[in-house]
């Protein structure tokens, strides 16, 4: 069920109504019912996966925490009569046991994801390798339809398991409550990926109706719908034609696509997250922010601290750090420092960890070479800029006034925006070679005149459409500028001026209804991240 469908609007109104009617103790149960109702809507066969993930994660979580508690109580009892070494040995043994149980849970969880999402991709690669060696018969590739949001709820569950193993989260005993944590419907489609310690207490807590909080949640939702329907879906209509015929639309059109896709995916993704956070806010639940004005970032590293924050922190906490401090990596670090000296030596483990993390991030985005190359390119840019850091510092020292001036800041932001735009267009094109040839064509084919010819209308960007997109994007930039300048939450500062905030809210709703790209005229498109 898409966020932008009539069914969802009806569903959400009903959910809000029941949520505040049902006794507070049962509110979480209602959320669970709503979540499974929402999920069943996307196809009953998908339920198998989310149910099995929930069961396995819940079971393994309990088992791991049982081992941990047993070892802690044992150590507490025998605190005096065990020497330090014995205690350490016992702790290591218990840790190993709970670690092996954790690995079992992770293997099952990631196993489900791998089987469903990547078998097709893996087999097709095997086939192509077989093909190069002239082997005729090919493996038949089963096409699994990707269950809704599987990448998100599996990552969230696995994150929970690791947190329980590390003692940062309490294993949930009640399976129904845990099922809600895994399947909380607003974040099913595209995250954010929440941590058990943040989300669970709020989910099971009791929430009484608070008018202003509810209204501020509605405002956030309306803002999300505005970005999604008035900007993202309108641009998508035009993009489809450009993407459909790469031979025809090259050079200037490729650049147009890159810029259009940057705005489109920003509006689509942040809009979707606004809706998700808005819905949660109406339920009295605070979800983590997933974006922090990404297009103001002056470097790629900063960009990835502002874009899809919960994914970034997930990969950092559960992939990057464990990988960079695990024993094998430490021995590499020791050896490399011995061989290449301190400067290079200390970089190698971090580089390996970074590359592996970015490879997995790319793979997680999609089962295709486009996404893997996308991940590795991002990694390359980050590592290169890390190396050039001393150079930047020298530059900043040499021109202190210039480097801290506003225009230079704007230049860096624009540079990062363009760089990210180019790399991100790997998502759109069919395959990597096409994308690279498109990038090249931007500089070689000089057909920028065509952008102002009738062809724009042909593609779908007719005058009226462009005007609406530009005006809507300008409003979004204006609001973002206010948010950045004001620092505090815009909605709070409006709270005491009801006339202004209510009429603005009404205007946003009216703009969505009139200028939104929805309904029979347009085929309602999934959230870009929806098919994950």
């Amino acid at each position: 069920m898409l966020f932008t469908s009539y069914e969802f609007v009806a569903f959400i109104c009903l959910a809000f109504l029941l949520y505040y009617l049902v006794p507070k103790k049962a509110q979480w149960a209602l959320l669970l019912l709503a979540s499974y109702g929402f999920y069943a809507f996307s196809g009953l066969s998908n339920l198998i996966f989310i149910v099995s993930t929930t069961l396995v994660t819940w079971g393994v979580g309990l088992w791991v925490s049982k081992i941990r508690r047993a070892s802690e109580s044992y150590l507490a009892i025998h605190k005096e009569d065990l020497t330090k070494e014995e205690k350490k040995a016992y702790k290591a043994k218990e840790k190993k046991k709970s670690f092996s149980v954790l690995c079992l849970g992770l293997a099952v969880g990631f196993g489900i994801l791998a089987v469903i999402k990547y078998t097709g991709f893996a087999l097709s690669n095997v086939n192509s390798i077989l093909g190069t060696f002239g082997v005729e018969q090919k493996l038949s590739i089963p096409d699994f339809i990707l269950p809704l949001g599987i990448s998100f709820y599996i990552f969230q569950s696995m994150g929970y398991l690791i947190d329980v193993y590390r003692g940062r989260a309490e294993a949930e005993k009640n399976i129904a409550k845990f099922a809600l944590f895994v399947s909380f419907f607003p974040q099913l489609i595209q995250g954010p990926i929440s941590r058990h310690s943040d989300l669970a207490p709020q989910l099971y807590g009791e929430h009484s109706f608070n008018g202003s909080a509810f209204f501020s949640g509605l405002q956030r939702m309306a803002w999300g719908y505005f970005k999604k329907l008035v900007i993202a879906d309108r641009i998508l209509v035009g993009m489809k034609t450009i993407l459909g015929d790469t031979a025809e639309y090259r050079g200037a059109w490729a650049l147009l696509l890159i810029l259009a896709y940057s705005v489109e995916i920003y509006a689509d993704f942040t809009g979707g997250i606004d809706i998700t956070i808005g819905i949660a806010e109406c339920f009295g639940i605070k979800l983590k922010e997933n974006f922090n004005h990404p297009f103001t970032s002056k470097s790629t590293k900063e960009y990835w601290n502002r874009w899809h924050i919960t994914m970034g922190s997930w990969f950092t906490d559960y992939i990057f750090y464990p990988l960079s401090v695990c024993r094998p990596m430490q021995s590499i670090s020791k050896k490399s420092r011995k061989l290449f000296g301190n400067a290079i030596g200390k970089r190698i483990p971090v580089y390996i960890a970074t590359i592996v993390t970015w490879f997995l991030t790319g793979l997680w985005h999609g089962a295709a070479w486009n996404f893997i190359v996308w991940g590795l390119l991002n990694c390359l840019v980050i590592l290169v800029s890390q190396e050039l850091e001393p150079l930047y510092q020298k530059f900043r020292k040499a021109f202190p006034r210039l480097s801290s001036s506003k225009p230079y800041g704007a230049f860096m932001a624009a540079r990062t925006f363009l760089l990210m735009g180019f790399i991100r267009s790997l998502d759109c094109y069919r395959d990597v070679p096409t994308t690279f040839s498109m990038w090249l064509s931007v500089f070689t084919v000089g057909n920028y005149g065509e952008l102002f010819s009738g062809k724009m209308a042909e593609v779908g960007f007719d005058a009226a459409n462009v005007i609406i997109i530009v005006l809507a994007t300008a409003t979004v930039c204006l609001v973002n500028a206010l948010l950045v300048k004001k620092g505090c939450d815009l909605r709070q500062s409006l709270a005491d001026k009801p006339f202004l905030s209510y009429s603005l809210f009404a205007l946003v709703i009216v703009a969505i209804i009139i200028f939104g790209a929805y309904g029979a005229g347009y085929d309602a498109s999934d959230f870009i991240y929806g098919q994950f």
Binding site: V56, G59, W63, I112, F144
Partner: protein, 163 residues
């Protein structure tokens, strides 16, 4: 504790079996053919833009049938041996039906006006549906072919229609 995990693993096995079990029914009952007619070396198919095909087919007569209430219309192009019916809506004119009207044209499978019912069944197989008019119809992927029989029992008209 062991029970819980055993339960989980068992459940996983079930889903694995269920998940990969349902292969889509293969089988030759659905003809994967797309029916078309070869006319002056051109492949005339349904569901394609008329402007790509019709100009290449030589001279023709055409008749309009406007729809009431909208500016859409149907057009029938009469060529030697075949008639092509299109539907015009806005700029697009899609071929909707090809009709073989005399024995100067045959289907790719070699059937024409006057062929017998058995010849048709021999050429297209036994899997067809029969209409109240006694006509028989073979469903293809995106098109279907119909053979209508006159009083003599032989083929009187052949239609290739969009599915």
């Amino acid at each position: 504790m062991k029970k819980i995990l055993a339960l989980c693993i068992a459940l996983l096995l079930i889903f694995a079996v269920v998940g990969c079990g349902d292969e889509t029914p293969k089988g030759d009952d659905v003809l994967k053919l797309n029916f078309y007619v070869m006319y002056k070396g051109e492949q005339v198919k349904v569901g394609v833009e008329a402007k790509d095909i019709i100009p290449k087919l030589g001279e023709y007569k055409s008749e309009d049938g406007e729809a009431c209430g909208t500016n859409e219309k149907d057009v029938i192009y009469t060529l030697s041996g075949i008639e092509i019916e299109t539907h015009v809506s806005g700029e697009s004119e899609i071929i909707r039906q090809i009709k073989i009207i005399d024995d100067s044209q045959t289907t790719v499978e070699g059937i024409t006006i006057g062929s017998t019912r058995d010849e048709v069944i021999a050429a297209y197989g036994k899997v067809y549906t029969e209409g109240s008019s006694g006509a028989i119809r073979y469903e293809g992927d995106a098109s279907a072919i119909e053979f209508h029989f006159g009083s003599s029992g032989n083929v009187s008209n052949i239609y290739i229609k969009r599915r």
